[in-house]
Amino acid sequence: MQKNPKRVLRYLRTHRRVWGLTRLELAELFGLQSAGHISRLEHGKRTPSVGVAFACQVIFGIAASALFPDLHTRVEEKVMRNVYRLHLALSNTTNLSGLRKRELCAQILSRATGKRAKLQGA
């Protein structure tokens, strides 16, 4: 029987090693003091700060969402749940501001469903 995989896939370590960088060297590039911080980021024990996420993008030329897909998925799921809740709350609204917010929610939801359909198609 196949076990349910609960692994954390992060590509920071992969890209660091592709370019032959040590943890300490990468920490220095990020402007951090210790290599332990990089280790924790690589193993999913720490959430990267916005500064680190941008630094990764600058160094490797890859979007933070691609380097930390687990984190991106987690944030996306949480935000989508909240957007859906807001969309439901605004279902009976008639004022202009409410309608504008509903339009934004509809756009977010259609983007997400489009992305999912694209992924399933691929």
Partner: protein
Amino acid sequence: MSDASSKLVLALYPFTRGYAFVLFEGPNRPFDWAVKEIKEKHKNIRTLDEIKKLIGRYHPHLIVIEDLTPGRSRRTSRIRKLYRLLARLAEREAVEMYHCPKHHLTEYFGRLSKYELAKIIAIQLPGFAHRIPPLRKAWTAEDPRQALFDAAALGIAFYGLEQPRRES
């Protein structure tokens, strides 16, 4: 890049001083790799422990090792025993195992020396290029880094020959 549901393939190559592994998430897409030297008396026990941790961390879909059919392989009795233990471990952990015969490697890469094989793999996987060991002299022992390329060769041969056969 793929999501966490992608199927990972773990290619393993034990050698005299330890073992090397390359974890692939697709053909020519290594996710993690390392050469681990084990300097203990009971190397097999420690190697198995480390491989168990690897399986626990990544949950690979399949493990690729070389085929040790008698007469086709010249590995030591310790490594043969390690492969037997590894097969049992894979069964316990419910991970499929593929024994890559040597002729698959020659079919895929051609008849090459280990150094030439490392150079070809470094072209396919540019992230490995800076780890090519120097050309081995007749009087020197094999560089541990070579094991990394041997493990990578097993994974690449699996994706190149075996996976299309399974899919068709």
